[in-house]
């Protein structure tokens, strides 16, 4: 148990981190770098929502980017055809993705293990075909273009026209914070404990009284909702929605982020997402080697860091004198209390 006395350090660190994140676009003048930061935010939010499904409940869904893509298309179609505002699109895209997830979860969640993974992969491929071929709806390979730039208004007080890269950065930061808070609340509550129990041992969870189907569906649908909303943001940011948003390349990238970062641990997932948004940028010098390097990294991570980057960082942290003092004071508090 963490005592109140040593809670202030993580709290202070979080505030400091937030300040740095708010200050970043003020010091970074290179617009391209800010763009990379935005993509890092997109991947962080996606990876966190994917981790609810893969890392917490233990369902290897290969359709997560599909919900991202569906959200992107939903927002793009709404924006270009009925000119609905950004916030409406953000929420509707989430619901469209979540609705689709709850429909397909009905057959898929009755499949065990590998069959579930294959089922979701099949679904992802079908949606890709739809995006490519149903030109009347999606624009096909020509994409749905001309998505409006977001404008957020709140009565007479706020009228924020999002247009510059740093505007988009702050919008992403807000969305990411909401996703972090939501995932944090979910995974540290009774619901989170239930998720982990399902991942650990389905039969025992069932014997404890857990309604497996209910919680699996819940994680799958909430994950899809977040992915769909992030997709909507992405459509409004890139001002288009293309079939590439649904590609299975993204599934692989997300899986690498999760497993190299530390599956089932929020900090690890964020670390993985940050690393694997920046690494490809460096690898632009050797694009043909990219997938090879990914593969090697994944192998090394599984062999030498079974608990991911987060496990390694935690180990280092425990060796620091500061961490030792904190841990021993925590123990003393427990004994006293």
């Amino acid at each position: 148990m963490t005592s109140a006395r040593n809670l202030w350090i993580p709290a202070a660190l979080s505030v400091a981190l937030l300040m740095v994140l708010i200050g970043l676009p003020l010091v970074i003048e290179n617009r391209y770098l800010v763009h990379i930061l935005i993509m890092t935010g997109v991947y962080c939010a996606l990876a966190l929502s994917y981790d609810l499904v893969v890392g917490h409940v233990g369902l290897l869904s290969l359709a997560h980017p599909t919900f991202f893509g569906v959200g992107a298309y939903a927002a793009a179609i709404l924006s270009t055809r009925v000119a609905s505002p950004f916030l409406v699109n953000l929420v509707v895209a989430g619901f469209v993705a979540a609705g689709l997830a709850s429909v397909v979860s009905f057959p898929f969640l009755r499949l065990a293990g590998a069959s579930f993974a294959i089922g979701t992969l099949g679904f992802a491929l079908i949606i890709q075909l739809v995006a490519n071929n149903e030109v009347w709806l999606t624009g096909g390979t020509d994409c749905t273009i001309g998505v409006a730039r977001p404008r957020l208004t709140l009565g007479p007080w706020i009228d924020w026209r999002v247009s510059s890269v740093s505007d988009y950065y702050y919008l992403m930061l807000i969305i990411l914070l909401l996703v972090v808070v939501l995932c944090w609340r979910l995974t540290t509550s009774r619901v989170g404990r239930t998720f982990i129990s399902i991942r650990e041992d389905e039969i025992l969870a069932m014997a404890s009284g857990v309604n497996l189907l209910k919680y699996k569906t819940f994680a799958f649908v909430v994950g899809a909702f977040i992915a769909g909303s992030v997709g909507a943001y992405y459509a409004h940011y890139s001002t288009l929605a293309c079939p590439e948003a649904l590609s299975s390349y993204m599934t692989i990238a997300l899986l690498i982020m999760l497993f190299v970062g530390g599956v089932g641990r929020m900090r690890g997932v964020v670390l993985g997402a940050i690393m694997f948004t920046f690494v490809p940028e460096f690898l632009r010098i050797a694009p043909t080697l990219r997938m090879v390097i990914y593969g090697v990294l994944l192998l090394l991570a599984i062999r030498y860091m079974p608990e991911g980057l987060d496990g390694v960082v935690t180990k280092w942290w425990r060796k620091l004198p500061l961490a030792r003092t904190l841990a021993s004071s925590g123990e003393n508090n427990q004994k006293a209390g």
């Binding site: 148990m1 404990r193 982990i196 650990e200 039969i203 025992l204 969870a205 014997a207 404890s208 009284g209």
Partner: protein
């Protein structure tokens, strides 16, 4: 009206997996307050019997009456709520969760406010658990894990507890400890049904012994009668 003395009545129960029938007409009565042991060869259907009673395996025929209610093919959660707990075979805690979280999971279906106090009382009863409160269950010794698992089951105050192979994979001293704990749980008022490979040991603490043979009741009697039955001794107790 249900017979007060009988907590569990199984009548002509058939069940199995797909086309393979494992239980072929089992009828059995468990008296309130007793310790019953089910023994038998591998594949006789011992675990399947417990799983069918708990609703994990579908019964194709027959009835299971627990505390006056037919529970055949009910959902495990509903059966749990009626006061019947099941401790599966082998490892039955959540290894990557802390001892405290494991106990919370043990009390999962309870929504009353007494849960915290009950968990505290388990810590008083088993001080080793209190010392390991924040430790991952999987990092504890086999004996400690077994104690945790029993504490988890006790948090529901079940009327009947079914335990599948409590001594599986434990060192001899720990087997002793576990059987002592089972006797204590029973003495506190919980009817106990266990499936055991360690038949001699199980029968020595049981009021009621049942030998399952190819999905049917082969022999039945008091623990002592079964332990002394010539044929049972030859086939199941190693002479």
């Amino acid at each position: 009206m249900a017979d007060e003395a009988r907590i569990l009545e199984i009548n002509d129960l058939f069940s199995g997996y797909g086309e393979i029938e494992v239980l072929k007409g089992v009828s059995l009565e468990i008296e309130n307050g007793e310790i019953a042991s089910i023994i038998g060869a591998n594949g006789a259907g011992k675990s399947t019997l417990l799983k069918t009673v708990f609703g994990l395996v579908k019964a194709s025929h027959g009835s299971v009456v627990f505390d006056g209610q037919d529970i055949a093919n009910k959902r495990p959660t509903d059966i749990l709520r009626l006061g019947l707990s099941y401790v599966p075979q082998g490892r039955c805690n959540f290894p990557a969760m802390s001892v405290n979280d494991n106990l919370e999971m043990g009390a999962y279906i309870r929504t009353d406010k007494e849960v915290k106090a009950d968990i505290e009382s388990m810590f008083e009863r088993f001080p080793i658990l209190e010392a390991r409160k924040e430790v991952m269950a999987g990092n504890m010794s086999g004996g400690e894990q077994q104690i945790l698992e029993m504490a988890m089951a006790l948090l529901l105050h079940p009327k009947l507890i079914m335990i599948d192979e409590p001594s599986l994979g434990l060192a001899p001293q720990l087997v002793e400890l576990v059987f002592k704990a089972i006797q204590r749980i029973n003495a506190d008022g919980t009817t106990t049904v266990m499936v055991e490979q360690n038949a001699k040991k199980a029968l020595s603490v049981s009021d009621h012994g049942i030998v399952l043979v190819l999905g049917q009741i082969g022999f039945e009697g008091t623990g002592e009668e079964i332990a002394n039955n010539e044929e049972v001794r030859r086939h199941y107790l190693g002479g």
